[in-house]
């Protein structure tokens, strides 16, 4: 049975987007007088376009991981993962719009290194420390990097999607396509290993221009991987509730529940590693990042950490909880919000600092992006048969039991 976007889903996603636009409008009007509207708007745009893009690209990473390890269990739910990667073109478009706008606004006080007044000697805000990073952080090189990440992501995504449909239609070539996916999956992992790190330096770490951390890329990646696993499991539970995918059994759900649990630990581990080393070494140029967050975002920052770590740990620890749709949905929604907040603090802590707060614009834009994301994913899901055919490991997936 193929999936059709239900009217209810259409109405709800439209409501989300409309509410988002209204709240964003209220937020813009409210922020009209205080002089940093542009920075506030662009910061929110950047954090939301990055957050939802990162979910899609992490879902693609997960898909490539299954291909490269020749896993069998995921085959029956392959289209669900593919549907989430279906947000990639839209996500890339929004990310590009964000970067182009930021380029024209000289960084909008978010990317300080885009501002010639900061980087050029004799400028009104000239900063020697920042200008010394100019060899790497300059607009032409930034665009070369950004465009190559996105181009390679897009080309490889396109290949995966094309081969997935091709495998459905050509049973004779199914094995060849499987091995091609295997090689391409491994190749994507190699690219992603480098790009996930460097792109988070370029797009997020460069906001705190004086600060650097070699662990930052992994930390961002672990967070987005967790979010992707949460989205996969929630979409799966949603489809199951509507009666689609009848052969998804408790073991499939349990396995993805374990992924949510495990990636949450990975994220918390990296968060703590970065935090503790900087706290222990106590070197001023490293502590700036945490000084800002601890002084001005104390509740949000540590609250976000506790939620993203303790919720999955304590609630998802038992076997039964990882098989319970209600518990998974609850934990999923909470930590999805937690990881959104994580990205938001990364962007806002470095750019607006003490003047940022969660208000109408923040909520509005998050809701707007969420509505768009869900809509695009559901539409993508309805475009191809809900279950892939001819994959050599299909039988293994149908009999998945742990």
């Amino acid at each position: 049975m193929d999936y059709q976007v239900s009217n209810k889903a259409k109405i709800w996603t439209t409501i989300l987007m409309v509410v988002g636009i209204v709240f964003t409008g209220i937020g813009i009007i409210a922020a009209m007088g205080d002089g940093n509207l542009g920075q506030k708007f662009m910061g929110n745009l950047l954090s939301n376009s990055f957050f939802f893009f990162s979910i899609a690209i992490s879902a693609m990473f997960f898909l490539a991981l299954q291909y490269a390890t020749e896993a069998g269990w995921f085959v029956y739910i392959k289209r669900v993962i593919e549907a989430i990667t279906g947000y990639l073109p839209v996500g890339m478009g929004l990310l590009l719009i964000t970067f182009i706008t930021l380029s024209f606004m000289n960084g909008a006080h978010i990317y300080m290194w885009m501002d010639p007044e900061v980087m050029k000697e004799g400028g009104s805000h000239y900063d020697e420390l920042s200008s010394m990073k100019g060899a790497y952080l300059n607009q032409p090189f930034f665009w070369v990097r950004t465009l190559s990440y996105l181009a390679i992501y897009y080309i490889m995504w396109n290949g995966f999607m094309k081969r997935s449909v091709l495998q459905d239609e050509n049973p004779a070539d199914a094995i060849d396509i499987h091995f091609k996916n295997y090689r391409r999956g491994a190749l994507f992992l190699v690219f992603f290993a480098v790009f996930s790190s460097t792109s988070s330096w370029d797009w997020l770490m460069s906001i705190d221009i004086h600060w650097f951390s070699t662990l930052f890329g992994w930390y961002v990646f672990a967070g987005s991987w967790t979010s992707a696993m949460v989205v996969i499991i929630m979409l799966l539970l949603y489809l199951k509730k509507l009666g689609y995918l009848p052969k998804v059994n408790e073991s499939h759900i349990h396995d993805i529940g374990k992924w949510v649990f495990a990636t949450s630990f990975l994220w918390a581990y990296l968060w703590f590693s970065q935090y503790m080393l900087i706290w222990y070494a106590n070197i001023p140029e490293e502590t700036t990042y945490y000084l800002m967050r601890v002084e001005h975002y104390k509740l949000l920052y540590f609250g976000m950490f506790v939620i993203n770590f303790a919720f999955p740990m304590l609630i998802l620890m038992s076997r039964d909880a990882k098989r319970h749709a209600g518990i998974l949905t609850f934990v999923g929604l909470v930590i999805l919000a937690g990881h959104w907040l994580d990205v938001w603090i990364m962007v806002m802590g470095g750019s607006m600092g003490p003047t940022a707060s969660i208000g109408a614009m923040e909520i509005g834009m998050a809701v707007l992006f969420l509505g768009l994301f869900v809509r695009v994913v559901l539409v993508k899901l309805s475009q191809s048969p809900l279950v892939a055919k001819n994959h050599p490991f299909m039988d293994e997936s149908l009999h998945h039991e742990i």
Binding site: F272, Y275, M276, W279, Y280, N282, M317, S318, R319, E401
Partner: protein, 179 residues
């Protein structure tokens, strides 16, 4: 006299044993134990073995380790002899908590892993040096043995049980009288 007869049915394939167990259980036979050289996947629910509580014990052991580590760090580093390391505040446990997290983590893992292993050995009565409980040494190599007790299957006679076992594809059938 006849009620303490034990059957040991031997198989040379775990899937055959699993199918056989399924058929026997469907007829109302109680399979009391299975001996195998490796864990037979999915046999537990078939012969009605209760889910293990080892995980709960492991969690409790982990908590013990964590508590012990934090208590020890508090006593050693804060209470008994405060040490100044890198200028960190040495009189406050909470402000020094971060430095104790790795130790807490290690102790959690150490306690959970070791205590869980020992519990497992104790529960299975397989502490090194203990007499082996399996009926046939070949079950540690390439054979699978299913144990049926007549005392647990009162509604069948000895003959009936034997006949049913013979139909399940066994390679050997052994019968013992235990006291």
């Amino acid at each position: 006299m006849g009620s303490n007869v034990v059957f040991y049915a031997m198989y040379n394939d775990d899937d055959v044993l699993k199918d056989g167990a399924k058929k026997l259980v469907a007829k109302g036979v109680k399979v009391s134990e299975v001996f195998s050289p490796f864990p037979v996947h999915g046999i537990d629910p078939i012969i009605g073995i209760k889910e293990t509580r080892l995980g709960i014990m492991s969690f409790l052991y982990g908590l013990t380790g964590l508590a012990l580590a934090l208590l020890g760090m508090w006593y050693i580093m804060i209470s008994d002899w405060p040490m100044n390391i890198g200028g960190k505040p040495s009189f406050s446990f909470l402000e020094n908590m971060l430095a104790f997290v790795p130790i807490g983590f290690e102790m959690t893992v150490l306690f959970a892993a070791h205590a869980m292993c020992i519990t497992y050995f104790l529960a299975n009565k397989t502490i090194p040096g203990m007499p082996a409980e399996n009926p046939d040494p070949r079950t540690t190599d390439d054979r699978f043995v299913m144990e049926l007790r007549l005392s647990e299957n009162q509604k069948f006679s000895e003959k009936e049980l034997e006949a049913m076992l013979m139909e399940t594809g066994i390679v050997e059938l052994d019968q013992k009288n235990i006291k």
